[in-house]
């Protein structure tokens, strides 16, 4: 199957800290890929490089057959590349609905009037419809996370990059979120999901990659990878949950 997004031999260092050391990672069309790794392994920087907010020192990023390594973030968004943030970053002075409308109108390049229905539908799917007219700055953590997802989806992504969306949620909230991500995936969106909550990840992804010290140290079937000696060595014990 053709890959829709691939990072080819990507390297990045911040001063003496190497966050990416020749990473090769390809996401197939329609695939859901999970990435785990200890804090500071360079997971979030990987998303920054894929979406254009961080420039890699070396290597190439290819999306849908085109080199996008130097493309501006807003152009990548319009091509169908969207991400959520680990720490939700809503436009806090705007309403929930406006947040989604901005993403839908500019991210998908449509007029505001044309996106109203789609935005209302999205908020409904993400469980935010009751709070549509609330100021986004006043939302609870769960709702902020939902808004991150709704806003990313509003841009009509073909590839969705999720950064620790399950962290800090209760078991029940987490279950709701997993169901939502499954429906997004069923809609044909390819997903890369960085997550510490491994059981949520395993419920969705087809493949699991482990990032450690700026390198992919394991990649393959999620249940095999999670039991691999490398992972047990890094995580010690967390793997037992799976």
């Amino acid at each position: 199957m053709a890959s829709i997004l691939s990072l080819e031999n990507i390297s990045k260092r911040f001063g003496a800290v190497v966050v990416a050391d020749g990473i090769d990672l390809a996401l197939d069309q329609g695939e859901a890929l999970g990435i785990i790794g200890p804090n500071g392994a360079g997971k979030t920087t990987l998303f920054g490089m894929a979406t254009g907010t961080v420039t890699p020192d070396a290597g190439r990023i290819v999306y849908d057959g085109a080199d996008i390594t130097r493309l501006a973030p807003e152009r990548r968004c319009r091509l169908g590349l969207a991400r959520s943030f680990q720490i939700p970053q809503p436009f806090s002075g705007m309403t929930v609905f406006e947040n989604v409308v901005v993403a839908a109108a500019f991210g998908a390049g449509e007029s505001e009037r044309a996106v109203y229905d789609r935005c209302a539908d999205l908020l409904d799917r993400c469980g935010l419809i009751d709070k549509a007219n609330k100021r986004a700055g006043g939302l609870t953590l769960l709702d902020r996370k939902r808004l991150e997802l709704a806003r990313a989806l509003a841009t009509k992504p073909r590839v969705l990059l999720l950064d620790e969306v399950a962290g800090g949620l209760t078991e029940h909230e987490c279950g709701t979120l997993v169901e939502l991500i499954k429906t997004v995936r069923a809609g044909g969106v390819s997903i890369i999901w960085i997550e510490h909550v491994v059981h949520a990840l395993l419920a969705v992804v087809d493949r699991l990659a482990v990032l450690h010290g700026g390198k992919i140290i394991a990649s393959g079937d999620p249940h095999t990878v999670i039991r691999s000696p490398q992972v047990e060595e890094i995580y010690m014990g967390i793997a037992a949950d799976a």
Partner: protein, 289 residues
């Protein structure tokens, strides 16, 4: 009694002009955290463009707005794309220095082209027309029109900010530039649109300024101060606050001038300082996110 009422009324009307000085400044600061030191000189530039339009095409000043407003908007867009966008970043100093330089360039350019002579736009009969508000209180037609236009500009901006895609783009970019980019917003274009809009308002303010009083290339910085004071009095980020700020400044100046003609500017500055001391966030600060 009617004497004082008259003084305050005239102050309110001139406050509309100050609010227009302030609205463009506030818009730019709000969207991109840029303090435009050249704002006052751009007002004067607009007045000279209007002067050229009225003398070469024979238009009356208010009609010349159909040329001056788009011209200034274009200048604003080009200025932002070509120069100011390059100065924006984490550091507030580069845009400050660059617009300061721009202020000097505009003043000297105008001096070279138009000399230091005082000019005025002639609006004809409308300049002396008056409306009687009540027994013994008269209002000039032009100050009245100027105030109505100022209110319309502020109301229009308010509508634009909260009811249009461009307004939401302004607010989203103002809130978080990096995230706005990830949502598909071309922030360089958004900033340029904000500057275009700011200078379109500057154009209107410049024409009213030039009809109301004499102008020469050196008067820009004083208009900048009035604009700043109105913004601070009203509260950063609030459009209606800007109108209130302009009106308070105008009324304070009018009262000062009534007591002693030399106190006009002093009274305005004192009103500003009092508000800054008592309520540093301004009268109507935007609810912080």
């Amino acid at each position: 009694m009617t004497g004082w009422f008259n003084v305050i009324l005239q102050g309110v009307l001139i406050g509309g002009l100050y609010a227009m000085f302030a609205a463009g400044l506030s818009l730019i600061f709000g969207v991109m955290r840029l303090v435009n030191i050249a704002h006052g000189d751009l007002i004067v530039l607009a007045a000279y463009i209007a002067l050229m339009a009225t003398t070469s095409l024979g238009l009356d000043p208010l009609t010349s707005l159909i040329i001056v407003v788009p011209a200034m908007a274009l200048i604003g867009y080009a200025l932002q794309r070509g120069l100011l966008n390059r100065t924006l970043g984490d550091d507030l100093l580069p845009p400050l220095l660059v617009t300061f330089g721009l202020s000097i360039i505009i003043q000297n350019g105008l001096l070279e082209l138009f000399t230091a002579d005082s000019r005025k736009l002639q609006a004809g009969a409308i300049e002396v027309q008056t409306l009687q508000v009540m027994q013994g209180v008269w209002v000039g037609a032009l100050p009245f029109i100027q105030f109505v236009v100022a209110v319309a500009v502020i109301a229009g901006l308010q509508q634009l900010f909260y009811r249009t895609a461009l307004g939401r783009a302004f607010r989203a970019t103002s809130d978080d530039q990096a995230v706005a980019q990830l949502m598909g917003l071309d922030t360089r274009h958004v900033f340029a649109m904000a500057m275009a809009l700011s200078l379109a308002i500057v154009a209107i303010a410049g024409v009213f300024l030039a009809v109301r009083a004499n102008f020469d290339p050196s008067i820009g910085p004083a208009r900048l101060i009035f604009g700043f004071e109105a913004v601070i009095i009203g509260g950063l980020g609030s459009m209606w606050g800007t109108l209130a700020g302009g009106v308070i400044l105008g009324v304070a100046q009018a009262i000062g001038a009534q007591i002693d003609p030399g106190w006009q500017l002093l009274a305005g500055h004192i009103a500003f300082l009092v508000i800054l001391a008592v309520r540093p966030q301004g009268l109507f600060p935007k609810v912080s996110g």
